[in-house]
């Protein structure tokens, strides 16, 4: 089951005109505040009626302006997790969780138990929303949406209202959701870190238009997408497998471009990982350097260079089967004679990779 969205809508101050497909798993709608991301999911949910467009989930048409079809919100069965949770204050957590199920044929105790377990909210069931922390509220809101038997899930920056500690508390549950839910999930975000961590597919929206769409790994490794993502946030994703842990607190992982040494990764050998390497943390060297403190020196080949607006150049590199991005100055690029096809070495400091940059992948993907 996949989601297909095409929308046009004129607001007083800007126009929304987007079209994208979203396969199973998490599709991130990425963009700055005011780019129109939330309007897109509001239109998918039916809370906003667009001027024109078509929204289809699997075989079900939710909206089709050409055929005058506009399913009312309550019959669309979209699980919407709002930024501000929006739990019903007069119902207990259990009441909130069961709210949508009564319109979808009643609460299925097996599914209820599974969702409660997955989100770790078993101890909260008899509490009132007022007695929950922000992270707990958001987890309950996710559970409430899941238990309404949705055709798809819409998550509108579910972490935006939370502080870092609460975010860290919710992220693992979102990862489980990504890996275990068998429905399309639209995830609105303006954080590259969240997108890198959670999304299989990313749709970059700018000023009401889709400027970039594709698998997260490809989009994040594309120098042309960097202006939309933000220079400091730019960084490609490497696929890796844990090899082992060293007694000095470091972990060794295998990538298609060779082994890497990382700060301790809390995962057993054999675990598949995805590692985000920030472009500004990569140093390029023509010759293999010696006498260097950096532990990771990866042989790479330059694929392309792209000038930025400032003094920088974004260099796309091939490391084995994976792509890396390196941000260097134009002066360095000229001095070193960097051109596509050139073999060189990418240097990555071990400590430049933080825990937030390392994501574990489920074994079956």
């Amino acid at each position: 089951m996949s989601l297909s969205v095409a929308l046009r809508h004129s607001f007083a101050d800007f126009k929304l005109d987007v079209a994208f497909d979203s396969p199973l798993g998490v599709t991130a709608l990425f963009g700055r505040s005011g780019a129109g991301k939330t309007s897109v999911i509001n239109a998918v949910s039916g809370l906003l009626r667009p001027d024109a467009g078509r929204v289809v989930v699997g075989e079900t048409v939710l909206f089709d302006s050409e055929n005058g079809l506009d399913l009312p919100v309550h019959r669309r069965r979209v699980g919407y997790v709002f930024q501000d949770a929006r739990l019903f204050p007069h119902l207990s957590v259990r009441g909130n969780l069961g709210y949508g199920a009564r319109f979808a044929g009643g609460v299925d105790p097996v599914k209820f138990a599974r969702v409660v377990e997955m989100l770790g909210i078993g101890a909260l069931l008899d509490r009132r929303p007022a007695a929950l922390s922000g992270g707990e509220k958001q987890r309950v809101a996710i559970g409430r949406a899941l238990l309404a038997r949705p055709r798809l899930l819409l998550l509108d920056e579910p972490l935006a209202a939370l502080d870092d500690a609460r975010k860290a508390e919710v992220v693992p549950f979102l990862e489980r959701l990504r890996d275990e839910a068998d429905l399309p999930i639209l995830y609105v975000s303006h954080s590259v870190g969240e997108v890198a961590r959670l999304a299989n597919t990313v749709v970059v929206i700018e000023a009401g238009r889709v400027v970039r769409a594709g698998p997260t790994v490809e989009v994040l490794a594309d120098p042309a997408a960097v202006p939309s993502l933000g220079l400091r946030e730019a960084g490609a994703l490497l696929n890796a497998t844990v090899i082992g842990h060293h007694p000095d607190g470091l972990s060794e992982v295998a990538t298609s471009g060779g082994p890497l040494i990382l700060p301790h990764v809390d995962a057993p050998p054999g675990t598949r990982l995805r590692i985000r390497i920030a472009a500004q943390d990569v140093i390029l060297s023509i010759a293999r350097p010696v006498g260097l403190s950096a532990l990771n020196i990866v042989p790479v080949q330059i694929v392309s260079l792209r000038d930025g607006n400032g003094p920088g150049v974004m260099v796309q590199l091939r490391a084995g089967d994976d792509l890396l991005l390196a941000r260097v100055t134009r002066r360095s690029a000229t001095d070193l004679g960097l051109v596509p096809g050139l073999d060189c070495h990418a240097i990555v400091k071990t400590v430049a990779v933080s825990g937030a940059d390392v994501m574990t992948l489920p074994a079956n993907r």
């Binding site: 309550h74 019959r75 919407y80 019903f88 204050p89 007069h90 709210y99 009564r102 949406a145």
Partner: protein, 230 residues
Amino acid sequence: MIDALTPAEWQALNLSLRVSFWATLCSLPIGVFTAYALARWTFPGKAIVNGLVHLPLVLPPVVTGYMLLITFGPRGPIGSVLEAIGLPIAFRWSGAALAAAIMAFPLMVRAIRLSIEAVDPKLEQAAATLGASRAWVFATVTLPLVMPGILAGTILAFAKAMGEFGATITFVSNIPGQTQTLPTAIYAFLQIPGGEGAALRLVVIAVVVSMGALLVSEWVARRLAARVGS
């Protein structure tokens, strides 16, 4: 308590309670509907509807009573119809209830409207995304959240109905056993020499009843507020 009251006092109290009860009960659904419409809908003539609802609050009660008399009196356009089908209300307790209901209506609507306006429409949107139709959203989200406001409006309306005097005496007069409520009975006693003692007894009854209603409503309100989680 029954023994402590003279039959006449008991009659006035009983009538007051009956008039107020029915006035409040019958205007409650209309009040909730009106409050919801004023809080949430935009429609042509909304300002006029709002004005009409509030008119009894600003008009001298005697004017409201007189308007009721010319409309619902035996020769009034509606009163004559009611007379014809055997349901006259002028100079009857049902007329007193109508007068009380109309006088209390603005207070009831104001309290409920305020609490409806305080309900976050985002919660209702959330309910809709979870599969609730408009009617279900109202019944399962809006209504429970405005219960404290409805309770406040009901108590206020009941108190106003218990105390209603001007419109009642103008519309349905002051007939013992028919339309003589506590306030009009007190007024009647004060009009006759030596009636102060009897009036004072009725005043005490009025205070006791009002205080009791207030305490009960406080208690219910606190329980409701705890349930709504605010």
